[in-house]
């Protein structure tokens, strides 16, 4: 009798959980929910991936939903040609890396200045820092274009690096605030004792503050790189014709395609050569592939960044 009751209870415990621990049913639904949401998240990417292997017939055929009847890898070859893949990849890397380095160095210095020192008008400057973040990129880019053309730095990486060096790169207020949060939690006693030993302010920054906030550097580098990589509107206004990043090549994909393929191939294969979703999606997948690779190796830093960055500490 006792045993039976006990079994019933443990079954109940197993199914419905107890003391805050979710039971089997709870867990089951939780996983179902998680998988469902994951599917919705990835839906557009998966759809693009599947369509990027499709030929024109499969794209037109409403009965073909996910798996193409014939895998066409030629789409990728064509897309790479249209994107001018290797050159654009090199340009994208350049545009990602150099401004990012400039941005990280300058934001760490600025963030340290705000976090570690008390000075008059500090509150006002920090308010301005946030207001600058609020200004639309389009708003700033119109007059900045004129200024850059006067300074004669349009069409070169300098038009990205100079603002990044002075703390006005792409969404750089965010990085300054992340560094601010990191440096703020460094105990004052450490820097004070270093000061007693005769270290200069710059020495304290380099020897104590920087080594203690390596995570901030990694997080900011990654986010900055990704944001510079994905930026299209600014890149087109500043670099047009000189540097072509993958995203820029992608945004003018249809135009380039129609100029490089359609004119030459009038005849039997013309229908297959005309612009179609398959090639475009292959191009899109190619542009996001490097980012996915980066994410595969560094996702720990993207995912755990918030717990470490102390954004929540305010």
């Amino acid at each position: 009798m006792m045993e039976k009751q006990f079994k019933k209870k443990s079954l109940k415990k197993f199914l419905f959980g107890h003391r805050g621990e979710a039971g089997f049913i709870g867990k089951f639904f939780m996983y179902l929910l998680l998988i469902g949401i994951s599917f919705i998240f990835l839906y557009p990417i998966l759809k693009m991936l599947s369509r990027s292997f499709m030929g024109l017939e499969d794209l037109m055929d409403p009965s073909v939903i996910w798996i193409p009847t014939k895998f066409i890898f030629k789409n990728y070859v064509k897309a790479a040609e249209v994107l001018n893949f290797w050159k654009s990849l090199g340009d994208s890397l350049k545009v990602g890396i150099w401004p990012t380095l400039a941005a990280v160095v300058s934001s760490s210095l600025i963030g340290y200045g705000f976090a570690h020192f008390e000075f008059p008008l500090k509150k006002m400057w920090m308010a301005i820092l946030i207001v600058v973040f609020l200004l639309p990129t389009m708003l700033m880019s119109i007059p900045t274009y004129v200024i850059f053309s006067k300074l004669n730095i349009l069409g070169s990486l300098k038009s990205y690096i100079y603002p990044a060096l002075t703390g006005f790169g792409l969404r750089q207020s965010v990085f300054i605030l992340i560094f601010y949060q990191f440096f703020k939690v460094i105990p004052k006693e450490l820097s004070e004792s270093a000061e007693m030993d005769g270290a200069s302010e710059l020495g304290i920054f380099l020897r104590i503050a920087v080594p203690m906030s390596i995570p901030a550097f990694i997080i900011c580098t990654l986010y900055s790189f990704v944001w510079y990589w994905n930026e299209t509107i600014l890149a087109t206004t500043y670099f047009k014709g000189v540097i072509t990043t993958l995203q820029m090549a992608l945004s003018s994909f249809e135009y380039t395609y129609s100029h490089s393929f359609s004119t030459g191939s009038i005849g039997i294969g013309a229908a297959a050569e005309s612009f179609n979703q398959g090639v475009l999606f292959a191009g899109t997948i190619l542009t996001i592939l490097p980012l996915l690779l980066l994410y595969a190796f560094t996702q720990k830093w993207f995912v755990e960044s918030a717990d470490r960055s102390g954004i929540a500490g305010e």
Binding site: G20, E118, L139, L165, Q299, D307, S309
Partner: protein
């Protein structure tokens, strides 16, 4: 390399020593001398304040942010002033004077804004629809990111894989990609938008509500894709939770629902403000009707840079209105609880 480093260090030390000891003493002496014979002793007093430890710290602080201050002058203050000037001008653009084209700004007035609101009803429509779009999407992003954060906070096996999947949009989000999603109808899971569902809903609910719900379903992927960083921020807030508080609450007989509203939610409220600001700024700058309108009008001869500047100030206005509106709501809600 090492030698070079040592060399730099040597120079740095001498300079800093010099500034710290010699120079400050000299200036102090000089100022005291001047003060003695001219009667302006406040100069000396002020100087002593500056040389004091507090003053030194303040100077060091300004030196650290000096880069930013320079940038503020060149890359923020000037563009802002010029943008305002352009938006309030009668004409600004390049004109050919003496054979070479120069950029000129002419006149002063609200001509550009008048042109937007009087002559171009389709542009006004774009502005209004952008405002509505941002105002609807921002709270939804907040709600979804809160839900996602709570879901990902659970300790389940394999939660790390789901976290990895959920944050893929953070790295992929770009105007290009969203543009293609939009043009090729990838932002709706087609099964969710079937007419059966709509019919079923209209049977039970008034049509206006159904329209809103269907609209949300149509944007669900967009909303999820925009909620990556916000989820991270909420997740960070959740991870700071104090376990002892929950234990105490459960001993007092609180159920999970109560614990969420009484303990978890108030903790996340301060993060709401950050997330509202972040969401509004990112969403209103990543490819919507108004930004595309701005980028097309820049190059069109009928409109030009002045017109586009005026439009972009309106975009800024939209951001401010949305942020202030939602922050106020959350502040008021918070006050009522207390």
């Amino acid at each position: 390399m090492k030698k070079f480093k040592a060399f730099i260090k040597k120079i740095w030390i001498t300079i800093s020593e010099f500034v710290r000891c010699k120079l400050s003493v000299w200036i102090g002496k000089g100022l005291r001398f001047i003060g003695k014979y001219t009667g302006i002793s406040w100069l000396y007093k002020k100087y002593q304040k500056v040389v004091s430890n507090k003053g030194k710290k303040a100077i060091a602080g300004y030196l650290f942010i000096s880069l930013w201050l320079i940038g503020l002058m060149i890359f923020a203050a000037r563009p802002i002033v010029e943008s305002i000037r352009m938006a309030l001008s009668n004409y600004s653009g390049s004109r050919i004077i003496d054979g070479s084209s120069t950029f000129i700004v002419e006149g002063f007035g609200f001509k550009q804004f008048a042109q937007i609101f009087k002559d171009n009803p389709d542009h006004v429509e774009a502005i209004l629809s952008t405002l509505l779009d941002v105002a609807v999407v921002v709270p939804l992003v907040l709600i979804f990111s809160l839900l996602l954060a709570i879901l990902l906070h659970r300790k389940l096996k394999g939660i790390k894989i789901f976290r990895m999947i959920f944050f893929i949009p953070v790295i992929l989000l770009s105007g290009n990609l969203l543009g293609y999603f939009n043009t090729y109808n990838l932002l709706t899971v087609s099964q969710l938008q079937s007419s059966d569902l709509q019919n079923l809903l209209t049977f039970y609910l008034p049509t206006q509500v159904v329209d809103v719900i269907i609209n949300v379903f149509g944007k669900i992927i967009l909303i999820l894709w925009f909620s990556g960083v916000q989820t991270l921020i909420f997740l960070a807030g959740l991870q700071k939770d104090n376990k002892a508080v929950y234990e105490a609450a459960s001993i007092d007989g609180a159920n999970r629902w109560e614990m969420f509203w009484k303990i978890t939610f108030p903790q996340l409220l301060p993060l709401m403000t950050i997330n509202i600001i972040y969401t509004t700024v990112i969403y209103s700058n990543t490819g919507n009707e108004l930004t595309s309108l701005i980028s097309t009008t820049i190059t069109q001869p009928d409109y030009g840079r002045d017109y586009a500047s005026a439009l972009s100030w309106i975009l800024f206005g939209i951001e401010i209105v949305v942020i202030v509106f939602y922050v106020m709501i959350f502040k008021l809600a918070n006050r009522k609880d207390k």
